[in-house]
């Protein structure tokens, strides 16, 4: 008699995912333009958080400098649009991924030689380097004014969809929503496969016990580096998708508080789960919009919520729900 499977059942996963995808696909028909736009932001942050959590939840490395990769993705797209006069979003994404690949490979090489505290500080310091470069070389980067990326200059699907002319804003929001949703689904599926692959198991082993991982033949440093690069790429993709929506990229996206927001999103959703970061990112997006709207001191609000989360709800939203479900199942 074959023993029970040791992994997630694909039919079950699809059965859970498809309704959610369906809901997301139908949402723009139900809610207004502003809400749709908000959700696009949420989805891009979800991609970033997904990438970030490969390092935190699965490899056990807490990075305080992921703004570097988000910003790299955003600025690369801005440079490509402004200086190379490229309109195709696909080419922009490709360029952003290449730029992010270089930066995350470089930074990762330095950072993964260390763990815990030193790793975190190195990631923070390196992202600050990028920020200070964006800030100071203002004749290239536009300094605090940043670089504008107008939606009228962007085309989707190799030029099939453009956003010039009247009514283009509405068209942009709806088309871009489905574009980002599609990429979000692809990214999520990709990440799901990665964390359930033998490589993903090796990362978790490294997280749990790096000494034993080495003694089982895993090249710890190399695997950490690969995870770092993959993580950076996902976050860079998010940055690339974010910039046409935001219309503008500024050094703020490279500054350390944004790294903090990525950390916050992931912890909010639950970093020991797969879907936690996604839920956390979308929830955080709404939380921040509300906090910014109601108070000039929204960072204070976020800080308080983070402290509360760590003390009272360390599993995050999804983690706590999963725990509760497990307890109910045992009864």
């Amino acid at each position: 008699m074959p023993a029970a499977s040791t992994g997630p059942s694909l039919p079950l996963v699809l059965a859970g995912a498809l309704p959610i995808v369906a809901v997301l696909a139908l949402l723009p028909g139900v809610v207004d333009l502003y809400q749709t736009e908000l959700l696009i932001y949420g989805l891009t942050f979800a991609i970033a958080a997904l990438g970030f959590n490969l390092l935190l939840g699965y490899t056990g490395l807490l990075s305080f400098g992921h703004s570097a990769y988000f910003g790299m993705g955003a600025y690369t797209v801005a440079f490509i649009v402004r200086d190379l006069h490229v309109q195709s979003m696909e080419l922009c994404i490709l360029g952003a991924l290449t730029g992010t690949l270089v930066i995350s490979a470089l930074f990762g090489y330095v950072c993964v030689r260390h763990t815990r505290i030193f790793f975190g500080i190195l990631t923070l310091a390196l992202s600050q380097v990028l920020w200070s470069l964006a800030f100071k070389f203002f004749w290239v980067t536009g300094g605090t004014d940043g670089i504008r990326v107008a939606r009228t200059g962007i085309t989707l699907l190799g030029g099939l969809v453009d956003f010039k002319g009247s009514g283009s804003y509405q068209r942009f929001v709806y088309s871009y929503y489905y574009y980002v949703l599609a990429l979000f689904i692809v990214a999520t599926a990709l990440m799901w496969v990665i964390v359930h692959s033998p490589f993903g198991k090796a990362l978790q082993a490294i997280r749990d016990n790096e000494v034993r991982a080495a003694f089982v033949g895993i090249r710890v440093r190399r695997y950490r580096w690969i995870a770092f690069v993959i993580s950076g790429l996902f976050t860079g993709l998010a940055g690339a998708l974010w910039v046409p929506l935001n219309g503008l990229t500024t050094p703020d996206i490279l500054y350390w508080p944004f790294s903090g927001e990525i950390v916050f999103m992931t912890v909010l959703g639950g970093f020991r789960t797969f879907t936690g970061p996604i839920v956390g990112a979308i929830a955080f997006n709404y939380l921040k919009v509300y906090a910014v709207a109601s108070s000039h001191y929204w960072q204070l609000v976020l800080g308080l919520v983070l402290v509360f989360l760590v003390l009272a709800l360390p599993q995050g939203i999804i983690g706590t729900l999963a725990r509760a479900a497990a307890r109910l199942r045992r009864r």
Binding site: A3, A4, S5, T6, G7, P8, V193, I194, H196, S197, P198, F199, G200, K201, A202, Q204, A205, R207, D208, N209, V211, R212, A213, A214, F215, V216, G217, I218, R219, Y223, I230
Partner: protein, 257 residues
């Protein structure tokens, strides 16, 4: 040619001579016990041989090759595996995943990002087989953290075994386990090891276990080897009895109960 040979291996910690000019030979298929009082350097010796610690001088030869400067993973790939005195597992992974990971690593499959781990039939079957051999089949879905101490010790050994090594170092595989479980664990380990002809070096304090299973016993004290031989030779060695037990005489090693 000996499977493993150390030549004048040295590792000091300041004044302390953890490994003091140790020259040791291990032949294929031997079951060697490494004994000695606490602080004798047994674990340090294993640590140096497996690259957990670096040697200050001396050589380590494995199958004739000089591996003195090889890294941990290189030695694992060459065929040396070890278990740990203080259990070293992947606590948040299931017992099954622990073993499967060792197999994936051995097969070089850990580089695969695009395939789902649990769909690999060959690895799944082998991992289940190993769990069965170590009596852990029923616990395959439990996370390593939730296992009982004896089961954790067995899993620690199973992880090393799953690498199908040529040479297996077991550091106190029964320590911290109740006397009742000790025998069971050692029987399991010995049958697996002997059954497959794996060369094993085991650090052990329980002399009953040592005398029962060993082909050869190596006695260490203060970082150096003071005696080695068959169980009978060691049993009648007065110096050894003095070092280990504080008394000597023909009945020193016999239990008086």
């Amino acid at each position: 040619m000996a499977l493993l040979q150390t030549v004048d291996l040295k590792r000091y910690f300041g004044e302390t001579r953890a490994v003091d000019n140790v020259s040791l030979s291990i032949e294929e298929r031997e079951f060697v016990s490494l004994v000695g009082p606490n602080g004798a350097g047994k674990t340090s010796l294993i640590n140096v041989i497996t690259a957990h610690l670096t040697a200050e001088s001396g050589k380590v030869l494995f199958r004739g090759q000089d591996i003195t400067h090889a890294s941990v993973t290189e030695r694992v790939r060459a065929g040396i595996a070890r278990s740990f005195q203080i259990v070293n597992l992947f606590d948040d992974l299931s017992a099954f995943d622990n073993v499967a990971l060792a197999i994936f690593s051995r097969e070089g499959k850990t580089a695969r990002l695009g395939a789902l781990a649990h769909l690999d039939q060959a690895v799944t079957a082998e991992a289940d087989g190993v769990l069965g051999q170590f009596g852990l089949a029923a616990k395959r879905h439990d996370s390593a953290r939730d296992l009982a101490q004896g089961e954790r010790k067995l899993l620690d050994v199973a992880l090393a075994y799953a690498l199908r090594p040529k040479l297996l170092f077991l550091d106190e595989p029964t320590s911290g386990v109740s006397t009742r479980d000790k025998g069971q664990i050692m029987d399991t380990i010995a049958s697996v090891v002997r059954g497959e002809g794996i060369t094993a070096v085991i650090v052990e304090h329980d002399m009953d276990v040592v005398f029962k299973y060993s082909d050869r016993i190596v006695v260490m004290a203060q970082g150096a080897i003071i005696a080695q031989g068959t169980p009978d030779q060691i049993r009648s060695n007065e110096q050894v009895a003095m070092t280990l037990l504080g008394t000597s005489g023909p009945d020193a090693f016999t239990r008086k109960d």
